[in-house]
């Protein structure tokens, strides 16, 4: 008995919400960045569940694109975080508030 796509979809929704929670609860750039990755993954899972339930392969294609873009995004994001750390010696968002009006 294979679980229906709906089960995967519910899982994706839960995962997405957990990612959002992590993003808001955490206070350092790296973990927040990881939370964004969780959300992207939840999106991927939803795409695949839809692809399965609609019987189309397009969902998988989009997942591949999302993964590629996420890889590019992670590289740039980490480079920026490394730069911030080099200049400020911290990655805590509470201490990065120079632009506060």
């Amino acid at each position: 008995m294979i679980p229906p796509p709906a089960a995967f979809f519910i899982l994706a929704a839960v995962l997405f919400v957990l990612g959002v929670l992590a993003f808001f609860v955490k206070k350092d750039l790296l973990t927040q960045f990881m939370a964004v990755e969780v959300m992207l993954n939840a999106g991927n899972l939803a795409f695949l569940a839809l692809a399965k339930s609609l019987g189309k392969a397009e969902g998988q294609v989009i997942v591949l694109f999302v993964i590629t873009v996420a890889a590019a995004e992670a590289v740039i994001g980490l480079a920026i975080i490394v730069l911030i750390f080099r200049q400020r010696k911290t990655v805590q968002t509470d201490e990065l508030k120079d632009l506060k009006g």
Binding site: L18, A22, D28, E73, L78
Partner: protein, 165 residues
């Protein structure tokens, strides 16, 4: 059988993200995420998408998270991070999360309630996926390659700078 695998994998996936929220050590966070992404790869496999599953493990768990761990090690961020989350903010976040979850399920209720009907062999075949990539989605594919090149150059330009130059 498949249900058991599904339940175990989804428990691992959700549980490790939850553990990530609770843990205060960044290296542990990253490792929890590796576990989560690997089990997601297994779930992709259950959805008849072996190629996506392999790419998920290869790229997400094997490359992106390695980069994260690498950064964490380079900063040498040891020890626990301070918790400074206000109660009101936490309550607000949880409330917002619940609303978001309800919204998502509402939006996808057709899928949730609808019959799991037309689930035929939906492109479990990697060759078919390749045809799609190189015919209908060729432009998107080429643009992704440009994007990766841009990211490569950008990362070099950003992180390659020496101190004081």
């Amino acid at each position: 059988m498949a249900w058991a695998v599904f339940l175990i994998l989804s428990f691992l996936c959700i549980g490790s993200v939850a553990a990530m929220i609770l843990s205060r050590n960044q290296a542990h966070n990253a490792l929890f995420l590796v576990l989560s992404f690997s089990s997601l790869g297994g779930l992709f496999g259950l959805l008849d998408a072996p190629f996506a599953a392999a790419v998920q493990v290869l790229v997400y768990a094997g490359a992106i998270m390695v980069l994260f761990l690498f950064a964490i090690m380079m900063f040498n961020l040891r020890g626990e991070l301070p918790v400074r989350v206000k109660k009101t903010r936490l309550a607000f976040t949880v409330g917002l999360g619940t609303i978001l979850l309800a919204e998502l399920l509402l939006a996808g209720r057709k899928l949730v309630l609808g019959s799991p009907g037309a689930a035929s062999a939906a492109g479990g075949d990697t060759a078919r996926l390749g045809h799609f990539l190189f015919s209908d989605y060729l432009y998107a594919f080429e643009i992704t390659s440009l994007l990766i090149l841009a990211a490569l150059v950008g990362a070099l330009a950003l992180a390659g700078k020496r101190e004081g130059s």
